[in-house]
């Protein structure tokens, strides 16, 4: 491209950002190296301290650089400098400020920065608290930062025509990343707009879920760093306590992050559930499972000195799996199997390197040091706590291995295809049953183990003496669990013995942990966290069974046409129901009615009324749900459909809009449809009824019926209302008050189509009558018909005193008095108005009595008047003056000439109905047990962590 002097670009933030990226990367590298030597030379205190100082300063500089970069990115995003590619891709003019964070981490680069941000924060904490572990752990954290930092470098490495690009730079200008004709104009900045944040992500979950999840990701680095540091320095014991504190923290945060993802899917997206065994979900769960296994072996190691090796393995594996999951979700390899994987960005090689490097680092180091890790000579006793805790960890590892193996199928396919181009990739046909089938048994074992091993004791030497107590409590717990399982089976249908088994052991965990807390742990706070976490696990399983097995699609309309598809096995798949406005439908135990909908900006909210009926059909309960849809900016498609959920303690009712009539989805289509309607013109005098015939198509088939209609014009409305019409100053609206009926139906519809003249433009507001697929509108002829005979009208002035009566063309007209608070359709009061209306009563020559209220007002020292009329008599009144001395007023009176004309309107009888929604409604029983259980698990982890931090404080203080 030739040199163009661009105008309107803001290049300074770009320079700052680029410098920050380079500085951040180099400083991380320097910190890793300096901390490395600080560890290596730890025997020579003076030298090590020098390295340590360099390491600290480098890490601080790294932190400042990355914070500066993040700040700069926010600066350009908030100011909407669209010349930056990242801004253009993630921000738009109409993006509310509250979503600026979401927009920041919507992109890959932003989410890498979020990850780095947390590493820096955690690194600072390590720097302040880790003491002798500071140098080796921060060396590892810095090294991780180097790898992640390389993802946003955006530099080219290599020579010749095809250099390799390393990383994707978030501070590049748009014109640096793409070639487009627009960059030929110097002021292109003026012409570009932002793409904005995907509407599906414009949601508070997108604000809180990624930071939590990435804090979870980042926190797994710390136990990893401790494990590496311990292997490196061959201090296999003293890292166990800080390692445990950090992994408890990590377990709680990562777990919360994963759950938030589930809650988001359940509450705000239309997935209809909280977990779908999607590869992206699986690969965030797997590291968590391994981390929990590591926490258990770590506890064993602290208590008995056993299982140090496996603790190493688990902590090393946790981080490697976090990187592996990053690779899976960001490399595009999952493309065909996952709903929410990123597509490729050219970072695959770097991600693989990242993964392989840390896998090898852990594996090699562990291999080299393996034999130096101390293990007690004596094997753990079969009846000891540590033995069964270890088995439990193996079960978790087993679970993780199964999930990883199945989820990695696309990777396996890719590798096989690399060696054998003819290899045909394999795929899991139905993922959800596949995963459930195995994980049921994992849950059974974990349930059993977390009950049993709670009662057992560390380093058991004399089980025979303890056995009676153990057996008594286990027996009671088993019995109580059996009872609870029976009670639960009355509430939920368990369907298969496998599920009953799973439920039984879930209750067993809950019962035995509670029993343990009260009978054994008593005052021992140390165990409370464990009891809460394991009890939570049991409750979670009960919740999963209740909400999963017995979730019921209540929007399953039994009247929907049968036999369209052979075989009824898919019947349960039919989850949508058609709901016409104001036509209640019985769905399961509910009478459901689509009541109304309102549009605000791009959001359309539907009111869906639920009435719960008892067996006699009486309404026992009533509530409304408000699912909404979000249109895209052009109103041509639905960008997002947000469900609405009624929450009870023991169940949820979930509702979402699955679809709408095409005319309600796409306003362009609606216009085209409106234009293609077959309108026919008719005329009628006020009060007259006309009848006509029209052919009616039978729903998109080639058959037509001839139907008879009757239409009555009741009158003209000069200030009509219409749901879509918003009055503006200077409007001249006309509405026609009408009745219409299709004679093969009983219903008569009262309608008021409106036509508005606004600044030389006509705006039509037709009325759709869905029940008879008919649409009525007015055409411009109505203006001639209404105003035409007033054109030549002449006014005559009259002077009235209050009570005066005159005769005008046979009508008796009396000025009855003033109204100081005039009401007139065209009058909108303003401050400082002096307004009054004359109350005019008329005895018409037709024998009827009428009133009119013309208005006289002074606004800004100028007099105005607003006329009023009696259309039936053709009489028009203007109130033109007041004489305070004589207490008289001046009224101008005129009568329209000629006969009243017939009023024109147009009717289309082929306007298919569009007043329905396609609704999906699901009942989830017991889902709150799931949420409560998971929250307790996280709480238990946090309690354990705080207890141990407190312990450390106490020991340091002592």
């Amino acid at each position: 491209m030739q040199d163009i002097q661009y105008v309107g670009e803001h290049l300074v933030p770009g320079y700052i950002g680029q410098a920050a990226i380079m500085l951040g990367f180099s400083a991380a590298l320097l910190a890793a190296v300096a901390y490395f030597f600080a560890t290596q030379k730890r025997d020579k205190v003076a030298e090590a301290n020098n390295w340590l100082r360099i390491g600290r300063w480098s890490f601080l500089v790294h932190g400042i650089a990355i914070f500066t970069l993040i700040g700069t990115m926010f600066y350009v995003m908030i100011n909407q400098y669209y010349e930056y590619q990242y801004v253009q891709a993630h921000v738009s003019e109409d993006l509310p400020m509250k979503y600026i964070f979401s927009a920041f981490w919507e992109g890959q680069e932003g989410s890498f920065l979020l990850w780095m941000f947390w590493h820096i924060v955690l690194g600072m904490v390590l720097m302040g608290t880790a003491k002798k572990w500071e140098a080796p752990t921060l060396s590892i954290v810095s090294l991780v930062q180097v790898f992640i930092g390389s993802m946003i470098l955006g530099v080219y490495v290599g020579f010749g025509d095809d250099p390799t690009r390393v990383g994707s730079n978030p501070m590049l200008l748009l014109r640096q990343t793409m070639d487009a004709p627009i960059f030929a104009s110097a002021d292109y900045v003026e012409q570009i707009a932002g793409t904005g944040l995907n509407p599906l992500l414009q949601n508070y979950w997108m604000t809180i879920h990624p930071p939590t999840l990435f804090l979870g990701f980042a926190s797994t680095t710390i136990p990893f760093a401790y494990a590496i540091a311990a292997l490196w320095t061959q201090d296999h014991k003293s890292w166990l306590k800080p390692g445990l504190r950090w992994s408890l923290f990590s377990g709680a945060i990562l777990g919360t992050g994963i759950l938030m993802g589930g809650a988001w899917a359940y509450e705000a997206l239309s997935f209809g559930g909280y977990w779908a065994w999607d590869p992206v979900e699986n690969m965030s769960l797997v590291p968590w499972l391994i981390l929990i296994a590591g926490i258990h072996t770590n506890l064993v190691a602290n208590a008995t000195g056993q299982s140090i090796r496996s603790t190493y393995v688990f902590y090393l594996l946790t981080f490697v799996l976090i990187v592996y999951s990053t690779f899976l979700t960001r490399s595009g390899v999952l493309g065909d199997t996952s709903v929410h994987a990123f597509t490729e960005m050219g970072l695959e090689t770097q991600l693989v390197l990242f993964n392989v490097f840390f896998l090898l680092l852990g594996a090699v180091l562990l291999g080299v040091r393996y034999s130096s890790v101390p293990t007690p000579k004596k094997e753990e006793a079969t009846a000891s706590k540590e033995f069964w805790m270890f088995i439990g960890s193996l079960v978790l590892l087993f679970s993780a291995a199964l999930i990883t193996a199945s989820t990695s199928l696309p990777v396996y396919n890719k590798i096989m295809a690399y060696f054998d181009p003819n290899y045909i990739g394999r795929v899991i046909t139905d993922p959800i049953p596949h995963y459930n089938k195995y994980q049921i048994w994992i849950a059974v074992f974990i349930g059993l183990l977390s009950g049993v091993s709670q009662y057992l004791r560390y380093k058991e030497r004399n089980f025979s003496k303890y056995a009676p107590k153990f057996l008594l409590h286990s027996g009671i717990a088993l019995g109580v669990s059996g009872g609870l399982t029976y009670l639960t089976s009355l509430w939920i249908d368990l369907q298969a013995w496998q599920y009953s088994t799973m439920l039984f052991f879930a209750w067993y965990t809950v019962v035995s942990n509670l029993d343990y807390l009260f009978s054994f742990a008593k005052s021992n706070l140390k165990m409370a966290g464990s009891v809460v976490a394991h009890g939570g696990f049991g409750l979670m399983i009960v919740g999963i069974l209740a909400s999963g097995l017995n979730q019921e699609v209540i929007s399953n309309n039994p009247f929907v046409m049968e036999g369209l598809i052979e075989g009824a096995s898919e019947e349960q798949m039919r989850k949508n129901v058609l709901l016409f406005k104001n036509s209640p439908l019985i769905m399961d135990d509910y009478r459901v009615t689509y009541v109304e909908d309102t549009v605000e900006q791009f959001t359309r909210t539907f009111t869906v009324n639920y009435q719960k009926l008892d067996s006699t059909g009486q309404v026992v309960e009533e509530f409304n749900l408000y699912p909404n849809i979000l249109y895209d900016k052009s109103f041509t498609k639905i960008a997002a459909s947000n469900p609405s959920t009624k929450r009870y303690l023991e169940r949820d009712i979930f509702t979402h809009i699955a679809s709408l009539p095409q005319v309600e989805i796409d306003m362009e289509y609606r216009q085209a449809r409106e234009d293609s309607l077959n309108y026919k013109p008719y005329r009628a005098m006020p009060g007259e009824t006309i009848s006509f015939l029209d052919t009616v198509p039978i729903r998109d088939r080639d058959t037509f019926f001839v139907k008879q209609y009757e239409a009555t014009v009741l009158g003209v409305d000069r200030s009509p209302t219409h749901p879509d019409y918003h009055k503006e100053q200077g409007d001249l609206p006309i509405g026609l008050d009408m009745k219409i009926q299709r004679l093969d139906e009983d219903s008569v519809f009262r309608i008021k189509p409106v036509l508005v003249l606004r600044e030389q433009m006509l705006y039509s507001y037709p009325v759709q009558i869905n029940d008879i697929s008919t649409k009525v509108r007015l055409n411009e002829g109505i203006f001639d018909a209404v105003f035409g005979r007033e054109l030549d009208m002449e006014y005559e002035p009259f002077t009235f005193k209050q009570g005066d009566k005159i005769n005008y063309n046979g009508h008796e007209i009396q000025f009855a008095g003033f109204n100081k608070n005039p009401e007139h359709p065209n009058y909108e009061p303003q401050e400082d108005d002096v307004a009054v209306s004359a109350m005019v009563s008329v005895q018409g020559n037709n024998g009827q009595a009428y009133t009119a209220q013309p208005v006289y007002l002074i606004r800004g020292n100028s007099p105005f008047n607003l006329k009023d009329e009696i259309p039936e008599l053709g009489l028009h009144f203007r109130f033109t003056g007041i004489d305070p001395k004589t207490e008289t007023i001046e009224l101008m009176i005129g009568q329209a000439e000629g006969v009243q004309q017939a009023l024109p309107f147009e009717v289309a009888t082929d306007s298919l109905r569009s007043d329905y929604i396609v609704l999906e409604a699901i009942e989830f029983p017991g889902i709150n047990l799931f949420w409560a259980g998971t929250i307790l698990m996280m709480l238990g982890l946090l309690m354990s962590m705080f207890f141990r931090i407190g312990q450390r404080r106490a020991s340091l203080g002592a």
């Binding site: 590619q85 080219y156 025509d161 095809d162 690009r165 994707s168 640096q176 990343t177 793409m178 070639d179 793409t195 493309g335 065909d336 709903v339 597509t343 490729e344 960005m345 050219g346 094997e379 079969t382 033995f387 088995i391 079960v395 087993f398 291995a401 199964l402 199928l409 045909i424 990739g425 394999r426 795929v427 899991i428 046909t429 139905d430 049953p433 596949h434 195995y438 929907v560 046409m561 369209l564 598809i565 052979e566 075989g567 898919e570 798949m573 039919r574 949508n576 058609l578 498609k637 639905i638 459909s641 699955a658 679809s659 009539p661 729903r699 998109d700 298919l912 109905r913 329905y916 396609v918």
Partner: protein, 133 residues
């Protein structure tokens, strides 16, 4: 031998057993012809035939959406999805369906669409830039 090792060996054996049996849960991407011959539940990956009719009329049946897919062999068949018509369906490039043949139609209970995303575009820019410089 330590008990732990025995437990571990049993677990590994069970894992291998399970993963072998899990082969039944897996299949390769089928073609319409495969699906017609074996009659089983399969996954089909294909392209949307954009010139053929797409039919969704919720008033008739809100759980019936039909369209045409061209499979890997280039064969075009009618597909019935027992669900609503998803948003942006017309934009999808690659479609993965799970279901089975019923007569001449492929009845799908699950569908995954791959739509062009903005990341895709970025990738294109970047590639063109890399080859240029």
């Amino acid at each position: 031998m330590k008990k732990i090792y025995i437990v571990a060996i049993v677990m590994v054996a069970v894992a291998i057993g399970l993963l072998t049996s899990a082969a039944d849960d897996m299949s390769t991407y089928a073609t319409f012809e495969d699906a017609a011959t074996n009659g089983e539940r399969v996954k089909i990956a294909g392209q949307l035939a954009k010139d053929k009719e797409m039919y969704y009329n919720p008033e008739e049946d809100p759980n019936y959406f039909s369209f045409y897919i061209r499979d890997a062999e280039g064969e075009e068949r009618k597909v019935v999805l027992l669900s609503e018509k998803p948003q942006d369906f017309e934009l999808s490039e690659q479609i993965v369906l799970t279901g089975s043949m019923k007569g001449d139609e492929f009845v799908a209970t699950d569908m995954l669409m791959k739509c062009p995303s903005k990341y895709k575009d970025e990738e294109v820019y970047i590639k063109s830039e890399a080859s240029k410089s």
